[in-house]
C-alpha cells in the first residue's frame, strides 16, 4: 500500500504546474550562478595575482590581534559601532560610561589614549591607501592572546549580539590574500584532500541551499491544499489506510521529487571537473552523492516538513509565511560567514568558495550536528503532522481554515 501511494503521490507532484516552476527556478538559478563554472588550474609562480586562490589559512594570533584592535580603534574614534545580528547592519549607540570603558580597553591593548587616536590613524594612512587597506594599530609590547581575547569578550558584551569581536568573528574578519606558496597550498588541499570535485560540489550545495531553503514549501503547501480545494478530504478520511501511510508516503514522495532535479544538477560540477582534465588529480567521483545526501537532503526534509505540518494544521498558506521568515533570517545571518567554516545552526549553511578545505574540516563536526538536528526536526514535524491528520480523520480539529473556532466535540457535532 505504501509503495502504491508513494507512486501516486510522485505522479501527482510531477503533474502539477508548481513543481515544474520549482524545477525551472532551480535550473535558472543554477545557470545564473554556476552556468559558466571555471575549474581552477594550478597556480603559476610569478603570475599577476592569486586572487582566485582564496585567503591565507594559516592566520597567526598576531594577525587577529592587529586587525581586531584596528577595527575597534576605528569604530571608537568615529563613534560608529555596528553589529550584524541577522546580516543587516545595526547601529549601536553607547552611553558615556560604555564609551569610556572601550577607551580603557584600547589603552590596555595599545597604550594609546583617546586624544592620540586621530594622530595614529592619520599617520597610518600617510603610508597606506585608505581605499584598499584595513587600519592596523601597533599593539602594546608583551600583550598576550588570552588577554586580548578577554578584552574583546568585554567589547562583544557591551555591543550585544552579532558584533565582530567574538573570537570566531575576529578570526573570520582577517582575510589576507595568498602569495604563490599560499595559493599552491590551497590548490593542493582542493586537489588532494577534496578530490577536486568535493570543492565544486560544496560550492554547488552553497548556491542551491539558497533556493532550497524556501522553494520546496511552495510545492508542499500546494499539494497539501489540493485535497481541500478538490474536496477530496472526506473521501480520503474514510479509507482504511493508516494516517501514517497516507502522510508518510506523501512526505517521502515530496522529498524524493524535490531531490530528483537537485541530484541531476549536482552531477554537472563533477562532469566539468572530469572534462577539465587536470593532470595528477585523484578525482572523487561520488562527491555529488555524499554532498546531496549530507548537505542538501536534511534541508529539503526540514522545509517540506514545515510545509506539511503548517498546512495540515491550519489549511492556509501559513507555511509559506513561516518558511519565508525562517529562510530570510537564515540567509541574512549566513551573509556574515560566506567563506565557509562557520556553519553554526543555520538552516542554509554557507561555503561560497570551492576552496577553504581547512575551514570545512574545522567546521565539519558542527556541520554534521547541524544537519542531524534538522533531520530529527523534520521527522518530529512529520510525526506531529500524522497526529494532526489522525485527529482530523476522527472528526477533531476540523476548522475549515481557522486555527480556533470549533469548540464542539465530534459527538456534539
Amino acid at each position: 500500500m505504501f509503495i502504491t501511494l508513494f507512486r501516486k503521490e510522485c505522479a501527482q507532484t510531477a503533474k502539477s504546474l508548481i513543481y515544474w516552476l520549482y524545477v525551472a527556478c532551480l535550473v535558472l538559478f543554477f545557470n545564473s550562478q554556476l552556468g559558466n563554472m571555471h575549474i581552477l588550474t594550478p597556480p603559476q609562480e610569478g603570475q599577476a595575482d592569486y586572487l582566485d586562490y582564496g585567503y591565507q589559512t594559516d592566520i597567526t594570533e598576531q594577525d587577529i590581534m592587529e586587525t581586531g584592535t584596528g577595527s575597534l580603534v576605528w569604530a571608537h574614534y568615529y563613534d560608529n559601532y555596528f553589529t550584524y545580528p541577522v546580516g543587516f547592519a545595526k547601529s549601536v549607540s553607547l552611553d558615556g560610561e560604555e564609551k569610556e570603558e572601550i577607551g580603557d580597553i584600547i589603552y590596555d591593548l595599545t597604550g594609546l589614549k583617546p586624544e592620540d587616536l586621530e594622530a595614529d590613524i592619520a599617520a597610518f594612512f600617510e603610508t597606506h591607501d585608505i581605499q584598499t587597506t584595513q587600519y592596523e594599530v601597533k599593539l602594546k609590547e608583551g600583550l598576550t592572546y588570552d588577554k586580548f581575547l578577554s578584552e574583546m569578550e568585554r567589547v562583544a558584551e557591551i555591543l550585544g549580539p552579532g558584533s565582530g569581536y567574538t573570537e570566531e568573528m575576529l578570526r573570520a574578519n582577517v582575510q589576507i590574500p595568498v602569495d604563490y606558496e599560499g595559493a599552491a597550498a590551497n590548490y593542493r588541499d582542493l586537489t588532494e584532500k577534496d578530490g577536486l570535485t568535493g570543492g565544486y560540489t560544496r560550492l554547488f550545495c552553497d548556491y542551491m541551499g539558497v533556493v532550497l531553503g524556501i522553494l520546496p514549501v511552495f510545492v508542499t503547501a500546494t499539494r497539501m491544499l489540493r485535497d481541500k480545494r478538490s474536496r477530496m478530504q472526506e473521501l480520503i478520511y474514510a479509507r482504511r489506510v493508516p494516517s501514517g501511510t497516507v502522510m508518510g508516503s506523501r512526505y517521502l514522495a515530496l522529498v524524493c521529487m524535490h531531490m530528483l532535479p537537485v541530484v541531476v544538477l549536482s552531477v554537472i560540477p563533477t562532469v566539468n571537473c572530469i572534462r577539465a582534465g587536470i593532470e595528477g588529480v585523484n578525482l572523487d567521483y561520488l562527491a555529488w552523492l555524499k554532498y546531496d545526501l549530507g548537505w542538501l537532503l536534511p534541508m529539503v526534509m526540514a522545509v517540506v516538513s514545515v510545509g506539511i505540518f503548517c498546512t495540515e494544521l491550519t489549511e492556509t498558506a501559513l507555511a509559506v509565511l513561516v518558511q519565508a521568515a525562517w529562510w530570510f533570517v537564515s540567509l541574512m545571518t549566513g551573509g556574515t560567514s560566506m567563506y565557509g567554516g562557520r556553519y553554526g545552526w543555520n538552516l542554509v549553511p554557507r561555503h561560497n568558495t570551492e576552496l577553504n578545505y581547512a575551514g570545512f574540516e574545522e567546521g565539519f563536526r558542527q556541520l554534521a550536528a547541524n544537519r542531524i538536528f534538522y533531520t530529527v526536526l523534520a521527522l518530529v514535524l512529520l510525526a506531529l503532522t500524522i497526529l494532526v491528520y489522525e485527529r482530523k480523520r476522527k472528526g477533531h480539529l476540523r476548522r475549515n481554515g481557522k486555527i480556533s473556532g470549533n469548540h464542539k466535540s465530534a459527538v456534539q457535532a
Binding site: I18, F88, A89, I214, V320
Partner: protein, 205 residues
C-alpha cells in the same frame, strides 16, 4: 461611492486586516533584526529595498483570496457590481496601506538620523512594493493558486539578490543607488502586471 466604501469596509473586516497585521508585525519587528538608526545612504537603501518592500507581497497578493472558494464565487458573480471594480477597490486599499506603512517606516528612519533623500527613497521603495505586488497578483491570476502568487515575487526577490544588476538590467529590483531608472521600469511593469492580473482572473472564471 457608498457601494465602494462598503466593499472597502468588508474587505478590511474579513480579509485585509490579517495581511495588514502581518505587515505591521514585519515592520515593527525590524529593530530586533536590523538597525534603523544612524545608517548611511547605502545601508538605508538596503533596509528599504530588501526588507520594507516585502510588504508588497503580503498586502497585494491575496487580492483574489475571498473568491478562492468556487461556491463563494458563484454567489458573488450573480451580483450586478462588476468584479473588476471590486478587485480594483481592494488593490487601492492595499496600495493605501503599503504607502502608509512605508511612509511611517521612512519617517522613523529619518528620526533615527539615517542618511537618505526622503522623496527619492520613498518613491523607489513604493515602486518596488508595486512591482512585487503586481507580479504576485499576476502569478496568482494566471495559476489560480495563491501559493504561486507568493512564489513568483519571492523568486524575483532571490533573482535580484543573486543575479544582480548585471543580469537583470532595468528590471533589477534593488537599483536605488545603482541605477534609479530601474525604479520607473519596475513601477511600470508592476502596474501593467497588476491590471493584467485582474483582467486574467476575471476572464478565467
Amino acid at each position: 461611492m457608498e457601494k465602494y466604501l462598503e466593499i472597502t469596509k468588508v474587505q478590511f473586516r474579513h480579509n485585509a486586516w490579517q495581511h495588514l497585521l502581518l505587515s505591521v508585525l514585519l515592520l515593527a519587528g525590524s529593530p530586533l533584526v536590523l538597525g534603523i538608526s544612524n545608517l548611511d545612504a547605502s545601508q538605508s537603501a538596503k533596509v528599504l529595498e530588501t526588507y520594507v518592500a516585502l510588504v508588497g507581497i503580503l498586502l497585494f497578493v491575496p487580492v483574489f483570496l475571498p473568491e478562492q472558494d468556487r461556491d463563494l464565487w458563484d454567489v458573488v458573480k450573480a451580483r450586478y457590481t462588476k468584479m473588476t471594480a471590486v478587485y480594483l477597490t481592494r488593490i487601492l486599499l492595499s496600495l493605501l496601506f503599503s504607502a502608509l506603512l512605508t511612509l511611517i517606516f521612512l519617517l522613523v528612519m529619518r528620526a533615527g538620523d539615517c542618511e537618505m533623500e526622503p522623496v527619492k527613497y520613498y518613491f523607489g521603495t513604493m515602486a518596488e512594493v508595486i512591482a512585487f505586488g503586481g507580479l504576485g497578483v499576476f502569478a496568482y491570476a494566471v495559476s489560480d493558486n495563491l501559493i504561486v502568487g507568493y512564489m513568483i515575487p519571492l523568486g524575483y526577490y532571490v533573482a535580484g539578490i543573486s543575479a544582480g544588476y548585471r543580469y537583470m538590467k532595468k528590471l533589477y529590483p534593488f537599483g536605488m543607488l545603482t541605477d534609479y531608472e530601474t525604479k520607473y521600469w519596475i513601477l511600470g511593469a508592476g502596474i501593467v502586471l497588476m491590471v493584467c492580473g485582474v483582467l486574467v482572473f476575471r476572464r478565467r472564471r
